[in-house]
């Protein structure tokens, strides 16, 4: 199980690095917001996997809060784009 969780966490780290590169690349605000949301979802997945690896169920609360924050972030960016344009 240790090897499996290590592989999964490595892939999620790779995914969040690629998403972060997209956020740094030039693009509209929406592109960057989507890319950072990809980073957030990779982090949520990673916390779930890390909870299995460490064997501590309390870590799951962090992924719940992370999902809530991701939704609020996207909603805020959507309002900003709606008012001010791209």
């Amino acid at each position: 199980m240790d090897i499996v969780t290590a592989i999964a966490i490595g892939m999620l780290a790779l995914a969040s690095a690629i998403c972060f590169a997209r956020a740094i690349r030039p693009g509209t605000i929406v592109d960057r917001a989507i890319a950072l949301d990809g980073v957030v979802s990779a982090i949520i997945c990673g916390i779930g996997v890390a909870a299995v690896r460490v064997g501590n169920g309390n870590l799951i609360d962090i992924s719940l809060v992370g999902g809530l924050l991701g939704f609020l972030t996207i909603a805020t960016v959507a309002r900003y784009v709606g008012r001010r344009g791209l």
Binding site: M1, M11, A15, I18, I44, S63, L64, F71, I74
Partner: protein
């Protein structure tokens, strides 16, 4: 039994990682904002559902598994709402549309087309 549980949970978690990597590559390769938004909601629903379901299968207590299922349901409910909000805002702000777009139902009709359509309705 324990081996079966470990294999199923590990497969689900690695599948979640694969989905996340594919979506991250898609963020770079797809042509316009809407296509990238489409690909970015896949790790946020399918990837998180796979990873957290795998963790719930491997979890040792029932309260942990319940919290994981709750997190999955929350993601499944909020991600489409967030994508819809952002997509409508981007379209209202006239984010450029790819050339390969077949149908854009939110595109405002020009006045001439409106008038011609109305005349056609009256005469027919």
């Amino acid at each position: 039994m324990s081996l079966v549980v470990d294999v199923v949970a590990g497969t689900l978690m690695i599948l979640g990682g694969v989905v996340a990597v594919i979506a991250a590559v898609g963020l770079h390769r797809l042509p316009d904002v809407y296509a990238r938004m489409h690909v970015a909601t896949k790790p946020a629903t399918l990837g998180i559902a796979l990873c957290l379901t795998g963790a719930a299968i491997a979890a040792d207590t029932a309260s942990t598994a319940t919290k994981l299922v709750l997190a999955v349901i929350f993601q499944l409910v909020t991600t489409p709402v967030a994508g819809h909000l952002l997509g409508r805002a981007a379209h209202a702000a006239r984010a450029p549309v790819s050339q390969h777009t077949v149908l854009d139902e939110l595109r405002p009709l020009p006045e001439a087309v409106h008038a011609a359509g109305r005349e056609h309705d009256l005469t027919s």
